[in-house]
């Protein structure tokens, strides 16, 4: 119970900060839309490349990437806030005040999730009227958004672990870069089969590729690799939960 009340307090504070501060809110809403516009708008001719086979079309193909990317970066952006809290000294006061400190991690994760849900709603609302075809039924779409939720939680737990260990805003690139690399070393622009050279090999073994392919399968209404995709995201959540909680212990030891 105490853990939940700590989590609720932390989450409320983060969400209040984000939703009352345009400089924090707008980038997390605008950037996914930039990517969606640039990729789906500028590269739509790619669906005519020989071998490109995704029935709902290129807009839907890119929507899944942008949705998953926004989920991952929603977690990372919230991680920046954690680093800022600890750099400014607020985090130390939070550690002193919280009776159950694991509630702090839970609160940040809950805030990241709510924050991303708003972004996901905006991206979806924009994508539908610009001609995104949806082949999947309701249950498929639940599968797609659930995958994205898992990814968002994994990303915030990763960023929390980094922020609690380094406790400085300079940790930003450390949180961001691995996520960026994992996302972009997947089949972003064309299906895996059309990737050539080293990127094909990297994408084949990149776990995010499974998540992306499953997400695209859900949207097309022909689910593929779903078990593997959920296993990957669940494993990431478990591994980064341990990472974040150990980060919390590191912050406690630092005083």
């Amino acid at each position: 119970m105490r853990t939940l009340s700590v989590a609720e307090g932390v989450a409320w504070r983060v969400l209040h900060n984000v939703f009352t501060n345009p400089s924090l809110l707008i980038p997390s809403l605008i950037f996914p839309l930039f990517f969606f516009t640039a990729f789906a708008g500028g590269l739509s001719r790619l669906d005519q490349v020989p071998g490109f086979d995704y029935p709902p079309g290129y807009t839907a193909f890119q929507f899944v990437f942008v949705l998953l990317q926004s989920a991952a970066f929603g977690g990372v952006f919230t991680g920046f806030g954690i680093a800022r809290d600890f750099e400014s000294g607020f985090g130390r006061r939070l550690l002193l005040a919280a009776p159950h400190r694991s509630g702090i991690v839970l609160g940040y994760a809950a805030a990241a999730l709510v924050r991303w849900l708003v972004t996901a709603a905006v991206v979806t609302v924009v994508a539908l009227p610009v001609g995104m075809n949806v082949g999947g039924r309701g249950i498929d779409l639940v599968g797609l958004y659930t995958l994205a939720v898992f990814l968002n939680i994994a990303a915030i737990l990763w960023a929390t672990g980094v922020a609690l260990r380094l406790r400085t805003m300079q940790a930003g690139p450390v949180m961001q870069m691995p996520v960026f690399l994992l996302l972009f070393f997947a089949p972003v622009y064309v299906p895996l089969a059309l990737l050539q050279g080293w990127i094909h090999n990297v994408a084949t073994y990149n776990p995010i590729t499974r998540v992306l392919e499953a997400g695209r399968g859900f949207l097309a209404g022909s689910p593929t690799e779903t078990g593997l995709a959920f296993a990957v995201t669940a494993a990431l959540v478990v591994a980064f939960s341990v990472w974040a909680l150990r980060g919390l212990r590191s912050a406690e030891r630092a005083g």
Partner: protein, 259 residues
């Protein structure tokens, strides 16, 4: 222009370069990030070269123009943020009490930006050569490419300086980053304009001056000596540079009057 004026410009340009060099994040990130994106995009989008009408069979060569624009974007942000910091910390006020001419301050700041742009351009060109890009316009083309990128760096650096002088706030300058990002994204950055399928996107890319800067650079790498692309590229770069430097000079005069 007196010898004293150039000495002042030199001193401030040196300060600008040293200040940037002392912040590794300001040097490394603008170099590493565009290279990373180049690596990812050039491999991920290689199959785009199979599209009928694509101007080259190497997407790496096609995409090599993009880091030059990303470098210019970082130049805008760095120049603007540094100058805004000078305003916020009162350095500009103290400078106004010295015999230094206002225009020397701007010249020095932009000199520093251009020095950084030169380093970046050298890195992009070297990266292209190492990765096997054949520069269609040859050695002369590389020299012209270098000059064009300096001109673009000057224009965008002056734009950053204008924003800083106008607002006096580093945060406000940083806040403009997404706006510049839109110009970069809604351009012919990833696909030739004639192959962009979505009509409104193609129109926006055609109206966007950044498309002509990218196409000017790209022509030297992919096509060779394309007079139209170069004329448009240099024309737009000169227009941006002249406009931005004029705006920055006027804002500087106003800012120094206020102090």
């Amino acid at each position: 222009m007196s010898e004293r004026f150039f000495e002042q410009v030199g001193q401030l340009a040196r300060r600008s370069v040293v200040r940037t060099a002392r912040q590794p994040a300001n040097v490394v990130f603008p170099l590493v990030f565009p290279l990373l994106l180049l690596a990812v995009n050039s491999t991920g989008l290689q199959s785009a070269t199979d599209l009928p009408g694509f101007p080259t069979d190497s997407y790496l060569a096609f995409a090599l123009a993009v880091p030059f624009m990303q470098g210019a974007l970082f130049a805008t942000m760095n120049a603007g943020t540094d100058l805004a910091r000078d305003i916020q910390t009162g350095f500009l006020n103290r400078l106004a009490l010295t015999p230094m001419r206002g225009i020397a301050l701007l010249g020095g700041q932009l000199g520093g930006v251009m020095a950084m742009t030169a380093v970046q351009a050298a890195v992009w060109i070297a990266a292209g050569l190492i990765l096997g890009v054949h520069f269609a316009a040859g050695i002369g083309g590389i020299a012209v490419l270098f000059i064009l990128s300096l001109l673009i760096g000057l224009g965008f650096g002056a734009l950053g300086a204008f924003l800083a002088l106008r607002t006096g706030s580093g945060e406000a300058v940083q806040g403009m980053f997404p706006v510049f990002f839109v110009f970069l994204f809604i351009s012919s950055m990833a696909m030739p304009r004639n192959l962009i399928e979505i009509k409104w996107f193609q129109t926006a890319a055609t109206l966007n001056p950044v498309s002509y800067l990218i196409e000017g650079i790209r022509s030297l790498i992919v096509i060779g000596w394309d007079a139209e692309a170069l004329a448009l590229g240099f024309g737009v770069a000169i227009l941006i540079a002249v406009t931005a430097v004029t705006l920055a000079s006027v804002s500087l005069r106003t800012r120094l009057t206020r102090t």
